[in-house]
């Protein structure tokens, strides 16, 4: 810390400039497309009016999906927390067996595109030919199926499987950043395992859990893939499929924009709720990382807990990817696994014969890495500004940072398209417009993670550095940033991993030169090449696991200690 004091008297204090620049970048990234969207929602050929809103909300037919979406998102949010938070605690704080496998498979769930998971679950649980239903019928001799995935519960179930990892990662990061001293103290004082968890660990993890719920809620609200697969056959719409309906040829873009406006309202509402819940309560723990926590012994519950996690991951990964594998290795997927039907041809086709694949893989990786890095750094700055209230209107910044999450990918992309398809900012047709789309879309995720991480670093440490003479920028860089370590890493992960599977923006903005893996998967699906779709889906999972393994080797255990 003395080195900071030495540097202080030289040169300008760049602090305000850095914060302003940070805020400005955020402003441009978010405000530009949103402003265009708002403008589109009130634009008609005759002039500005609310006609689009009447068109969008006038008919009960269009209001139904709003209710459906709210119910859908709320239940998925709750389920994601109920699954993700306990799993994070089990993996991070107890002596659960098989932690490595559980962590890895959870990450696998995180990178699975929701429509792929949904399609695999149709193969597993479709009422007529679902594999699970077939087994059930064979065993019990029943006529009707055990489960019908084409239903709201089915949709909620499948979506939760691919949304809980967000809560898992956020909660895990919070737990890792919290030193175990308080829990140890409680145990020494005689509290049982459950009491410690309930009265000490849980309250400390609340910011992360609330943040996780909000992210899961908003992510579900704007999800398109799974509802398209499951809600439509179940004969109901959610807001995103309804918006997609507005894009049916001829597209009614302005009505779609108007229809998407309430979603922004929802985001604002949730942010307000988050602030009320967490607000001024003290979650900070002085000192950052202390000793490694002693694992809580689960005793007789060890294997039951493992069983619970195993069931979750079986549903998220094992069963669906088995269904995919069945098709990936088949000449004709409708025939299942018979000796004559096995082949490696699909993998060969996808990797070597199908042109777009290779450039798509490179594009996806580059985009994911660059977006994650920039998002994490940018949002660390914004979260810092908001926490320390460095600028007036810090709360507005916080809202802006979270707003894009409430806008469905397809609608956001319209705004982005219009914003960046004219000179001097002609980005359309290049990979850069997709980069901007990802960055804008994932800012909220990075912000929420950084915000939750900030909550655990007490300002006293920074203030101590400043008393010793460091200016705010230096103090932030040398003191707060390292303490945020794990939090930043989780923010990075929370952007990197979903970027690998992002579809709703990419599908609108891509051109032949700027494809990503999920777009290739989706277009193969639209061409009816299900065997190729499965192979590429499995390759995506494999690629991710390889990346995670390599990162773990280089960054050590810290990488996945979330």
């Amino acid at each position: 810390m003395t080195s900071g004091a030495d540097r202080v008297s030289r040169g300008l204090d760049l602090t305000p400039a850095v914060w302003l620049l940070n805020a400005a970048v955020l402003g441009v990234l978010v405000v530009a497309p949103l402003a265009i969207l708002v403008h589109a929602s009130v634009w008609t050929p005759e002039g500005l009016s609310f006609a689009n809103f009447f068109a969008a909300f006038g008919r009960p037919l269009y209001r139904g999906p709003i209710v459906n979406s709210l119910v859908y998102a709320s239940v998925v949010g709750v389920l994601s927390v109920l699954i993700g938070a306990p799993m994070a605690w089990l993996v991070g704080r107890t002596d659960l067996p098989g932690k490595g496998v559980i962590r890895t498979l959870t990450i696998g769930a995180f990178v699975t595109p929701s429509f792929l998971g949904a399609t695999a679950w149709v193969i597993l649980a479709g009422p007529n030919a679902g594999l699970l239903n077939a087994i059930y019928r064979a065993v019990t001799g029943a006529e009707s199926p055990l489960v019908n995935i084409f239903s709201m519960p089915g949709l909620i179930f499948v979506t939760s499987l691919y949304t809980f990892p967000t809560v898992f990662i956020l909660t895990g990061a919070a737990l890792t950043a919290t030193p175990p001293d308080l829990e140890e103290a409680a145990r020494i004082a005689g509290a049982g395992r459950l009491a410690v968890m309930r009265d000490v660990t849980l309250p400390l993890a609340v910011p992360a859990i609330v943040g996780g719920f909000i992210l899961a809620f908003l992510e579900t609200l704007v999800l398109f893939g799974a509802p398209a697969m499951l809600a439509l056959p179940a004969r109901f719409h959610v807001m995103t499929t309804q918006i997609w309906a507005f894009f049916h040829y001829p597209p009614k873009v302005e009505v779609a924009a108007a229809y998407a406006m309430p979603l922004l309202g929802v985001a604002a509402g949730l942010l307000w709720v988050q602030r009320r819940l967490i607000g001024r309560r003290g979650f900070t723990t002085v000192g950052g990382r202390g000793s490694s926590p002693r694992p809580v012994p689960l005793g007789g519950w060890r294997w039951a807990a493992f069983g619970g996690c195993a069931v979750v991951l079986a549903c998220a990964i094992v069963l669906p990817y088995f269904a995919l594998l069945r098709a990936a290795l088949a000449k004709a997927w409708g025939l299942g696994w018979t000796w004559e039907n096995l082949t490696l041809r699909n993998f060969r086709f996808v990797l070597f014969e199908y042109d777009p694949t290779r450039s798509a893989i490179i594009n996806t990786l580059v985009l994911a890495v660059v977006t994650a890095t920039l998002a994490a750094l940018l949002m660390a700055g914004i979260a810092y500004i908001a926490h320390r209230r460095l600028l007036r209107g810090a709360r507005l910044l916080a809202f802006l940072a979270t707003a894009p999450l409430a806008v469905p990918g397809i609608v956001l992309s319209i705004g982005l398209f219009r914003a960046y398809s004219q000179p001097p900012l002609l980005l359309y047709g290049t990979i850069w417009i997709i980069f901007v789309a990802y960055l804008t879309k994932y800012l909220p995720v990075a912000y929420t993670a950084c915000h939750a991480a900030m909550a655990t670093v007490h300002p006293d440490l920074e203030d101590a550095a400043r008393i010793l003479g460091a200016n705010r920028l230096v103090a932030a860089k040398d003191v707060t940033l390292p303490l945020l370590g794990v939090g930043l890493l989780s923010a990075w992960l929370l952007v990197f991993l979903p970027s690998l599977r992002e579809l709703s923006s990419s599908i609108l903005l891509f051109t032949s030169r700027s494809r990503v893996i999920s777009v290739v998967i989706y277009t193969l699906y639209e061409e009816g090449l299900w065997e190729a779709v499965s192979s590429l889906g499995i390759l995506l999972l494999g690629l991710t696991l390889v990346i995670v393994a390599v990162a773990q080797r280089f960054l050590g255990k810290r990488f996945l200690q979330v």
Binding site: N128, A129, R235, Y249, A332, G334, L335, Y428, W530
Partner: protein, 259 residues
């Protein structure tokens, strides 16, 4: 359309599965007049009289059954057979909102049977899917036992070995034409013309034919198991009709099927 409204002229050549789009484009002056080499010898139903676009590929809209679930004797022979209650819960139907193929197919059937047909079909509770490519997938896997789609989608899946069989209903079938055109303000007009000639030349057309499609160029050789074009009874769905009925079809589908 999005690119055009932004005054972005990136594409040289345009091709979609829905021919009514091209009427729209032509009306808005977005297309360049061009007749690919050999145009005079093409089948007449594949040509636009004004010469702004040419149908690149076509496919009849047909029925297919899953042969593992449906015995030959029970298979439907006519579109009207699909209304039989024995198919309740076993049908699949793609949503017209997402695919021009389905809109064209429905236009053809509406011309022959009217909306009463679809009102009755709705009672059989078909599985409504988003993509026009989905029915073949659902029928392959047995989640649906019967479905309708563009013939070449079924054909491709059957060639791989999937347990399906195509049925040409006795009343006739709509024919889905997918057109190709050069943009009026193409950045590379010469390359566009050369490419278009290639697309309609024997080599490229044969590739399409091997995939199960029907093409305008008569120099190609069709597989033995493909029904020749002249033997197909067509339920006409003119592009103007498809364009005109577009909104009506989507709206009434929503009323009948709920989505």
């Amino acid at each position: 359309m999005q690119e055009a409204s932004a005054n972005l002229w990136i594409a040289d050549v345009v091709h979609t599965s829905d021919i009514s789009h091209f009427l729209d484009f032509k009306g808005k002056g977005m297309l360049a007049k061009y007749a690919p080499a050999g145009w005079e010898r093409f089948r007449p139903e594949f040509k636009d009289a004004d010469g702004f676009y040419t149908v690149l590929r076509g496919t009849p809209y047909v029925i297919a059954i899953n042969t593992q679930k449906v015995a030959k004797a029970d298979a439907p022979k006519r579109w009207k057979d699909l209304l039989d209650p024995k198919w309740k819960g076993k049908l699949v139907h793609a949503h017209p909102g997402y695919s021009g193929v389905v809109v064209t197919g429905m236009t053809g059937l509406l011309g022959a049977f009217g909306w009463d047909y679809y009102a009755a079909l709705a009672k059989n509770n078909p599985l409504v899917v988003q993509s026009a490519e989905d029915p073949p997938m659902k029928v392959s896997g047995g989640e649906a036992w019967v479905g309708a789609a563009g013939e070449y989608n079924f054909y491709r899946a059957i060639k791989k070995g999937n347990p399906m069989e195509i049925i040409f209903p006795e009343e006739g079938v709509p024919f889905v034409s997918s057109a190709n055109a050069i943009m009026a303000r193409a950045p590379h007009p010469n390359a566009a013309r050369v490419f278009t000639d290639f697309l309609f030349g024997k080599e490229a057309q044969q590739i399409l034919v091997d995939d199960g499609l029907y093409v305008p160029n008569e120099e190609v050789t069709y597989a033995k198991d493909k029904r020749p074009l002249r033997e197909i009874k067509v339920l006409r769905a003119e592009p103007e009709e498809v364009l005109k009925r577009n909104e009506e079809i989507k709206a009434r589908f929503r009323e009948l099927f709920g989505v």
